[in-house]
Symmetry: C2
Subunit: 251 residues, 2 copies
DNA sequence: TTAATATGTGTTATTCTGACGCAATGTAAT
DNA sequence: ATTACATTGCGTCAGAATAACACATATTAA
């Protein structure tokens, strides 16, 4: 990819990039898929550039697919970042040398990049970080333990989480984050983790079932400590309908 | 501006622009500030390009200020648009000739442009469309009577309105759209116009006053038909507080 | 067998919402 | 002047939604 860009500047939209905040849920933790590029000490959000002949939404889906292997996943553009100094000194002389980028080609990287942020909600278990494939280290990291990131990626991540929290009040969330069959307590943990606050079990159950997007299965989760909780799945039709119409009208 | 870009490509971020949806409220109508460029039959959203040494938010504020003369106004980035063909054929050979742009310079305009959408809420009465100043025709147009627009500007406008409607449920709106003193019925009309639906007078009053952002003034509106309504103003401190914390928690 | 933990279901008081009644104020028509 | 009409201000009431909490059940660990 990098090599392609160095050799074929013209194929990519100049000064513009995409960064993806890929959320997963596992072990009651909200995880973020981060990568560490060769020669870099800091982690970063998976991102990429935009072919001039590709819609930006398509480019984002491509990047997501490239990193996770999944397709057709929930992906949402949430904000665009363009502070003048956001990528200043990122590709300095030393870095360019390390990466074997000739200096005259390096100017392409040294312009100010505006980056479009997308966040994705994926099923943790379906994604196996495949470091070998991309020559980068790819890892799921608990969002509470995200280390220092390059550039303004921490700010981008925070903003994504912020948007996700807001969206939680406007639409149902979980379909793409949980496995097909799940329990109400699991769903509640997801909500609690995203919102970073405790919710009342009984009130949560009532509210979430009232939305009408859940199907109670005639099946209990097994191999669990304590009382076996019932399994549920999403009623996809109803789910899509609510996604379209929103949850609370407000006015 | 156009001349500056033609001569100094390098000063501007290539392939990237900003478009502003400027909302105002007057005569019980939600108005949008539109412009018509010389040589164009279609109207368009006021927009501009991004100096490489300017934050995108700053660039948006500059564009807004350039068109309206106002500063420090509510301005929010809401989405970024980047379909491949969105500005295809916009600066075709004929147009370039009309605008006196040499063909080799015209290539700058013919790349795919990604545009960042901002919407602004301004006090209608404070803005006098000044066509003379910009050589373009600038006009307030009722959002229900917006004619055909260039490129995907209609889509951008729709999306802005959509976001505004959603935001209405998350935060108070009106501070920058109404004059300092206003009546509850006026505020209600604003809400009804944005949402495009009727609200119950009495329930609206209860709900809006419960938010705690209004100050009832010891003054009535005069020169009105029928019973004179009371005047209110926003309690700016409380307003800002609610803006920060949001309206409905939901969960 | 008992303690501890987590799930499933129900209750109650309070608040919020939607739908509507009615008196007060001011304009316009007769 | 009197009446009809439109608009505002304030209030009521039933039903829905919400927050806080009680109790029974299932399962494991001591």
């Amino acid at each position: 990819m990098l090599q392609d860009i160095i050799e074929n500047n013209k194929k990519y939209q100049p000064g513009l990039s995409i960064d993806c905040v890929i959320f997963g849920f596992h072990d009651n933790q909200l995880k973020v898929l981060l990568i560490k590029v060769k020669h870099s000490k800091k982690w970063s959000l998976p991102g990429g550039f935009i072919p001039v002949d590709q819609d930006i939404d398509t480019a984002a889906a491509t990047i997501l697919n490239h990193r996770t292997g999944v397709e057709g996943i929930f992906l949402r553009q949430f904000a665009t970042f363009g502070k003048t100094k956001r990528n200043e000194n990122h590709f300095d002389k030393e870095t360019l040398e390390k990466l074997n980028i000739p200096e005259e080609k390096g100017t392409w990287f040294n312009q100010r990049f505006v980056t479009i942020g997308y966040y994705a909600l994926v099923d943790f278990l379906q994604i196996v970080p495949d470091s070998a494939n991309t020559h980068d280290i790819v890892e799921w990291i608990d969002h509470k333990e995200v280390p220092e990131l390059i550039l303004d990626h921490k700010e981008i991540l925070e903003k994504a989480l912020d948007c996700l929290r807001t969206e939680l009040n406007l639409m149902p969330v979980g379909y793409t984050l949980l496995p097909e069959k799940f329990t109400i307590p699991e769903l509640q943990k997801l909500y609690e983790t995203i919102l970073d606050k405790k919710l009342d079990r009984r009130n949560f159950l009532r509210k979430i079932t009232n939305i009408g997007i859940l199907k109670k299965l005639d099946e209990k989760k097994n191999n669990v400590a304590h009382k076996a909780p019932n399994l549920y799945s999403f009623d996809k039709d109803k789910y899509e309908e609510v996604l379209k119409n929103g949850l609370n009208q407000g006015w």
